[in-house]
């Protein structure tokens, strides 16, 4: 018996050694290439010097960062999207500290980021910037933050109605959820872009970006609803009975007792959905909206700077990663301190 255990331990050790070896060599190789391309990197100079150097072309980014980040937003008003990005980052930063976990933070997210910031980018009370001119990171953040911000409450409503709504609402939410989950986001975006205008009454026009946002909200609400429904089912029936016997009606029971527990249980899959939505907004490229991914692609197609796709895509990949990674860290933190 002891021998078997010893053998098993030995094998385990050997295996972990093997895995560490693979990992270290992979990281070493990666580090080598990064260092090499930085060492050979071109900081100044034209595209031609970049091509011959064989390193990372920083001068491409120096030339194009503005377009990649902000698209065709007017240069003179660039402080607006900068302020917007800054306030999003600030919001994420604040959320990491338990000290700020108060109603004010929720207010900040929903009222400021979701409702006010689009108006701000559009230029309320100042020079108007048409939504069609928005691009780059602000557009990506707008689509994903407003998308998540609106789809979350909608998802809660759909989940509640699917679970125990009256007949009509129950079956329409089942229908909506199953329909939306059954089709890819791209097809919804196409619908929003090409077909939706046919359904509007004549004279009514809704901007393409807002239509895309609508598609994103409906799409992610369906997924959120299923995630949240899982949480609702995980709250024991006893909780509802106790609430009932204390006299809580349906909505009070859900908002005060069931949802706080249910939403907490499903934090990991909720953040999962939010992160995938954040990245899926890059699909708006196919209906010709200039989000961060599209601007990166367009920057590469400049004839003066052909062949710089590596630089461009690494740049946006880092931005996507920074946001997604901080979301997941944030969820980890929230989950740990709520349990």
């Amino acid at each position: 018996m002891e021998l078997i255990n010893k053998n098993r331990q030995k094998r385990k050790k050997l295996f972990s050694l093997f895995v560490s070896f693979l990992l270290i060599s992979f990281l070493g190789l990666l580090g080598f290439f990064i260092l090499k391309s930085l060492w050979l990197g071109t900081w100044t100079g034209e595209a031609q010097t970049c091509r011959t150097s064989g390193g990372f072309c920083f001068s491409f980014l120096r030339e194009k960062w503005r377009y990649i980040l902000f698209g065709s937003y007017p240069d003179s008003l660039l402080w607006r999207p900068i302020l917007f990005i800054f306030s999003v980052i600030l919001g994420i930063f604040f959320s990491f500290f338990r000290f700020f976990w108060k109603k004010a933070l929720i207010f900040y997210y929903w009222i400021f980021l979701v409702l006010f910031s689009p108006l701000f980018l559009w230029g309320i009370g100042g020079e108007k910037v048409e939504i069609s001119l928005w691009g780059g990171l602000p557009l990506t953040l707008f689509l994903s933050f407003v998308g998540i911000g609106l789809s979350y409450p909608l998802g809660i409503f759909l989940a509640l109605m699917r679970r125990d709504g009256p007949f009509l609402l129950k079956y329409s939410s089942i229908f909506l959820i199953e329909l939306v989950r059954g089709v890819p986001l791209i097809s919804l975006l196409f619908m929003a872009s090409v077909m939706a205008p046919f359904f509007f009454p004549t004279g009514m026009e809704i901007n393409k970006t807002l239509r895309a946002l609508g598609a994103i909200v409906i799409f992610s609400a369906a997924y959120m609803a299923e995630v949240i429904r899982g949480g609702l089912n995980a709250v024991t029936q006893g909780q509802r009975e106790a609430a009932h016997s204390l006299g809580f009606g349906y909505w009070k029971m859900n908002f005060l007792i069931v949802l706080p527990q249910a939403l907490k249980i499903v934090i990991p899959p909720t953040v999962n959905t939010a992160i995938s939505l954040f990245k899926d907004t890059s699909l708006v490229i196919i209906i010709a909206l200039l989000d961060l991914m599209s601007t990166a692609k367009l920057a590469v197609s400049d004839p003066l700077w052909l062949g710089m796709s590596f630089e461009s895509y690494v740049f946006v990949a880092l931005i996507y990663f920074a946001f997604s990674f901080s979301f997941s860290q944030l969820s980890k933190k929230v989950e740990r301190s709520l349990s």
């Binding site: 009975e241 106790a242 009932h244 204390l246 006299g247 007792i257």
Partner: protein, 244 residues
């Protein structure tokens, strides 16, 4: 004659095809304490859940203080002011502290201002001797403490009658006593109670009426001394032989 607090008249209840309550009649005057016992699956829990609208009956009538318990007639909001309920599994709200558990219903249902609700909560916490635990969370308490908090939480809505659904069945044996003491104290203060329990000691000590249920009917209902020392029904005699 005064109006009975609880009046159950020929109530039938089906779960799908299965008949679980077969024409039960029962009444309780204000201040009386009733204990319902019987083998598991006999419908005793279902019976008290009917009073609180946790289950709906299909035939017969139940009145609480002269108000018909029926979803069309009385909302749970009105009912909860009169009927408090304590569960076997405590069902404290785990995301709220003990104090918030107690304050939630008075604040949101009775619309008490927070200071008043807090005062009320502390009054009942003192009664169950747990005021030191006000800021703890339910998962930091022992089973007996949880059940006492659950009792205090129901009392905060100042009910006319308390229903207990096997309040000690989920407890470790050494914690049963603290909950029973709490029940006895409550009984002495004159609270009307219906208690479903397997604790025969409790029935002997505080009950005005003891009822024995089996297979959806009340087989015997009498004063404790008659119930325990001269049971008439054969089924009750075998039951008592087994539990005593």
């Amino acid at each position: 004659m005064t109006k009975p607090l609880i009046l159950i008249d020929q109530v039938f209840k089906w779960y799908g095809e299965t008949l679980v309550i077969k024409g039960v009649s029962f009444n309780l005057e204000k201040g009386q304490k009733a204990v319902i016992c019987g083998p598991s699956g006999s419908g005793k829990s279902t019976l008290i859940r009917l009073i609180n609208q946790l289950e709906l009956y299909q035939k017969g009538n139940i009145w609480v203080e002269g108000i018909l318990v029926h979803p069309d007639v009385v909302s749970s909001q009105q009912l909860c002011q009169k009927v408090g309920m304590v569960f076997q599994q405590f069902n404290l709200f785990p995301h709220l502290s003990v104090l918030e558990n107690l304050m939630l219903a008075p604040c949101w249902i009775k619309k008490y201002p927070r200071p008043q609700a807090k005062e009320l909560a502390f009054f009942y916490l003192k009664k169950v001797q747990l005021e030191a635990f006000a800021y703890k969370y339910p998962n930091q308490l022992s089973g007996g403490q949880k059940q006492r908090v659950a009792i205090a939480r129901s009392l905060c809505m100042s009910p006319e009658i308390m229903l207990f659904d096997e309040p000690t069945s989920a407890l470790d044996p050494e914690m049963v006593k603290e909950v029973l003491d709490c029940l006895l104290e409550l009984a002495q203060e004159g609270m009307s109670m219906i208690c479903v329990t397997h604790e025969m000691g409790l029935a002997k000590e505080m009950a005005d009426i003891v009822a024995f249920m089996d297979e959806g009917v009340i087989l015997e209902m009498s004063k404790p001394q008659d119930f325990f020392y001269s049971p008439k029904h054969a089924r009750l005699q075998t039951f008592l032989e087994q539990v005593l």
